[in-house]
Structures are given as structure tokens and as C-alpha cells.
Amino acid sequence: MTQKITIEPVTRIEGHAKVTIRMKEDGTVERAFMHVNEFRGFEKFCEGRLYFEMPQITPRICGICPVSHHLAAAKAGDALTGQTPPRPASLLRELMHMGQIIQSHGMHFFELAGPDLLLGFDAAPEIRNVVGLIGANPDLTVKAVMLRKFGQEIIKTLGGRKIHPTFAVPGGVNKALKVEERDAILKGVDAAIETIQIGLQIMKDWAEKNMEDINKFAVFQTGYFGLITPENGLELYEGKVRLIDRNGAELERFPIADYLDYIAEHVEPWSYLKFPYYKKMGWPEGVYRVGPLGRLNISDKIDTPLANEELKVFKSLNGGKPVENTLYYHYARLIEALFAAERVRVLCEDKDILSTDILNTRKNYTGHGVGVIEAPRGTLIHDYTADEHGKLTRVNLIVSTGHNNWAMTNAVDSVAKTYVKGPDVTEGMLNRVEAAIRAYDPCLSCSTHAVGQMPMIVDLVGPDGELIKTIRRD
């Protein structure tokens, strides 16, 4: 008898997904799938809108990283109208972006993934959440809440609101930063760094105690992909794309406007989320990973001191070669958060940050533009074509979580094979399968701008596909 296990909804991730696990007669796993189960269709319904509306429409793809879409849309607009933003505008946009990295990474570590690490994969589902954390460690919870608030307040200071701000426009931004606002932000930097460092310590202690799990939990080879500084430093806002192979050798370095020459998207019938890959290697050999782990793997250094020290330790985990362990996404995420907090200070202390030269109004209209940014979860691409009146005729979006689709599916399959054993499948086994997805911090609303939501159910299905039993966790 073959059985099928369905986990629905997958929780503590953004969006709608479900997992199905096909079991063999002997109680081992045959194959596990992650289905992303939502589709919204932004690419089509944005046709006919005006290009300058996009920084307001596209953030509604995702309320966790609206700033990524806001900025990628503005950057596509910069290119489409030929309005290069003045330096102060780019600094301000980047500052907003750092606020988002801090809030998103902070929330993910402490509030979404944290309960697995701090309370345990096998803790009862009733308490394995942020409320359980409040009970277990109230001080830490308050710190985590304040860290997220620090990031969100930066966004609000610049863009008027924390979610779906109005700030970036093609050619620059619509508001300069005031001295007192800058000073208020600066005041919060130390506390943010301190909380992130506490997170790093928690991560390291956890890793030490759980080395066995880390080394058998979805460890596999892929390429790695993301923006990079000219000197191979970590870059989250602007730069060329660097793609390395599984051993760390550089395969490509290209400007985002040429992305169609390098990446293509594969479609599977069982998911609304597409699978991007490196075109020259083909599907599925050309799969790669993005996001915190991918970015640290492509970077040789980080241009802020504390994060750079942490990077050195991180790099030693696999002797200088790319780090392949899925669970180290959490570690990489905290190192990036540390960089973002340090970067807030660098940006706020820049001589141009208070400048009012924030908008370039001279146009050199081309009608086509590609915008890119390293969203918290990876490389986000907005590609717009418009007619001579600015009306969009084609919109193509490749979102961060999409790039990791193959990796998440593979991680689910690998973890299911390692931990799920019949006939008595436990909740803790299934939670590990979910944790494989959670490590990637997917944003399924983004990926299914295209997609939305991520549920988990376990259906046990007979060889002919008839449903034998469903395990739900409610």
C-alpha cells in the first residue's frame, strides 16, 4: 500500500503552500512535493497601467517585503524613463531597504523560525510559536519586537507608513530626510546591533548542540546567485549579478538588463510557482540558490567590520567552499541583519544623506526598464515595457522565493526521506519537513504575484490513489 501524507497549511511561512509526501509500502518516503497553491496574476493585470503607478501597485504583492517591490518598481521606472537618481536619493532608498532587511530578517529569526530552534522541533504545536516564546523568554521577545520596530520605523520615517510606503518615484524619492529624523534613527542602531548579536549567539549555541541535525538536514549542492559589489563584497541594493557554481567558481557576472540571456523559468504542473535556472546549464542542472545563504556564498567579504568578522567564521564552516546546509540559512540571515544595522549607521553618517537633491526630472525616455534589488529572500527582478504614453504593454516579474523553488522542493524531499518513517508518522517529523521550507523564509505571496499561501495536511493514499487517511494538525 502506498500512502500519501499532506501537510496543509504549512505555517510560519508567508503565503499558501502544501506538502504531499508519497510513502512506500515499507513506510519509507518515495517522494515529497511542495505545492504552492495560489496565483494572483499581477503580470497580466498591470498591463495598461502607467509605469509610475507600479511603485504603489506592486508592493501589494507582499506585505512582508513591500519595500523590495516598491524600490524594484522605482528602479525599473528609472531605467524606463532614463532618469538616473541623484546620489542622495539612492542613499535614502538604500536606507529604507536596510530598515526592511532588519525587520524582515529579525522577524523571521525570532518570531517565525525561532520557535523551532528555541523551543525545539518536537515541542507541542500549541506553544511552538511566538506566544510560546513570550512565556519561555519574555525579555528576549520584547527585544525581538523592538528590533522589528526599529526597522519598521525607518521605513515609516522615510515613506510615511510602515507597510506599503510612498517614497521612491522614477528618478529619485519624494521626501528628504530631516536632521532630527536622522538622529532618531542613529539612536536606535546600538540596540539593534545588540539584539542581532544575541540572535547570533543563540544560533551558534544551537548549532553546536545540533550539529548532527545540521549535517543531515537537506545538505546539497547548487549554484549561488545574487548582486555583488565590484570587489566581491556583499551587496543588497545595487550592482551586477554574480553566479557561482557549486564549487565556488564564478560562472557569470552580468548587468540585470541582460537577465533573459542567463535565466529561464521552468514550469511544473503541480505548483503555481515557477522554477528559474541558469539557462546555459539547462534544467535542472542549472539550479541555484539565492537569499542569505546564496549571497554569503558569492561574497568574499562584507564592507562593515562586525559583519565581516562573522562572515570569516561562516566561511570556515566548509573550508572556504560554498556552505551547503539548509539550516545555515538562519545563520546567514543574522549576519546579513548585522550588516544592515551597521550599514544604517554608515548611510546616516554620509555627508549627502540630508541633501535635498533627491529627484532627477530630466528624462531620456526609452520605454523599457529592468529594476533589481536583493530583497530579504533573494534577487527580485521587475521588467517593464511601456508605449510612448507610459502605458505598460508587458510586465515580467521574477521574485526572490521563485529562485529557491527547486531548492525548497528538494529540501522537503530530502528531509522527508531522512526523518519521516512510517507507519507511525509523528507531528515532530512533519514539523521538520515544514522547517525545511521555513529555512528559506519563503514569501509565497511574492512568488505567486503569481502565488499566495502555504498550507500542510497529510493524506495517506493507496496505490490507486484512493485516500486512506488524512492527518491534520488542528
Binding site: T11, E14, R40, G63, G452
Partner: protein, 180 residues
């Protein structure tokens, strides 16, 4: 007296309304004190208790067969059902899909997009939900409170939840309806 039970879920939205809920910051601890937080997307219980909850909160509209089921289950299991945010109240930005229709949107995303592999097809596995017209929640099930905003302000969400948790009727008027 037992604490009132609150459950929430998201459907065709962007998670922004739930993020705005988290943006009440420290006050979230107060809500956790006042009420018993049951299934939500950020906790690990999957569905509202079969025995029912006092308050069900839904973000997002209804745009496929899976979200239709979520809405119906919430209605059945919640004494009071709250539609949180513009998507839930009237469809919001995702309802723009109704202008071009589901088919055209699927065709563009999975077949015509310039980055797609040649020969790509629209996903159609039986595991997947079927896409429908995008609707507000009240078009599918009865809603007790509509809370507008994209997203509603954290202060408004706090007010609504704390009133409901204390067994009172929230009144959305004046300042509470001002959002930008």
C-alpha cells in the same frame, strides 16, 4: 471566565494586514494576555478549533477554491467574523485580475512570459486549487465587521481586537476610519 479565542488566516492578500497587526509592537503582548491566540499563519495550529472560536479574522479576498473553503470554515467556526483590510472588504488590488480574467492572467504567467521555457503549460495538477473570480469575503459568507485600509492602521487593529476580546462591539468611525 475563559479567555476569548481568536483565530486568523490569510487568503488572497499580501500578508500586509497581518504585518500591520504585528506593527502594534509591544501591544501584541497585551492582546496575547487578553485573548487565547489559536490558529494563525504565524503560530502552528492549522485551523480554528472545531469547537469554535469567539473571533475569526480573515485577511484577503477569495480568488480560488482553496480560499473559498477557508472562508466557509472560518464562518462556520467563528462566532464573530472580521474582514481585515481592503482585500477582504472589497477585493483590493488582487481584484484587478477580474478586469483581464483568470485565463488571460494564467496564460501570461505560465505560457507567454518572456523568461518561460518554450512549451510551458499552465499548472493543472489535481493537488492545486482552481482559480476563480476574485471576490470580497462578504460575497461568499456573511461578515460581522469590515475593517478597511491597505493595510488598516495598527491602532485600528488593536482597537478592534481589544474591544472584541472584552466582549464589546467595536465602532469604526471618525479617526478610526482615517488612513492614508
Amino acid at each position: 471566565m475563559a479567555k476569548p479565542k481568536i483565530a486568523s488566516d490569510w487568503m488572497c492578500g499580501c500578508a500586509g494586514c497581518h504585518m500591520s497587526l504585528l506593527d502594534m509592537d509591544e501591544r501584541i503582548l497585551k492582546i496575547a494576555e487578553m485573548a487565547d491566540l489559536r490558529s494563525t499563519p504565524i503560530t502552528d495550529l492549522k485551523h480554528p478549533d472545531e469547537s469554535g472560536v469567539d473571533v475569526g479574522v480573515l485577511e484577503g479576498g477569495i480568488n480560488n477554491t482553496a480560499s473559498e473553503e477557508v472562508a466557509k470554515m472560518f464562518r462556520k467556526r467563528s462566532k464573530i467574523l472580521v474582514a481585515l483590510g481592503d482585500c477582504a472588504v472589497f477585493g483590493g488590488v488582487p481584484a484587478m485580475r477580474n478586469f483581464c480574467g483568470v485565463e488571460a492572467a494564467l496564460q501570461q504567467a505560465y505560457v507567454d512570459a518572456p523568461s518561460n521555457e518554450p512549451g510551458s503549460q499552465i499548472p493543472n495538477d489535481p493537488e492545486l486549487a482552481t482559480m476563480t473570480k476574485t471576490r470580497a469575503i462578504h460575497e461568499v459568507v456573511q461578515v460581522d465587521y469590515n475593517v478597511p485600509g491597505c493595510p488598516p492602521d495598527p491602532d485600528v487593529i488593536f482597537y478592534v481586537l481589544s474591544e472584541l476580546a472584552q466582549g464589546r462591539k467595536p465602532e469604526l468611525k471618525d479617526e478610526l476610519l482615517h488612513w492614508h
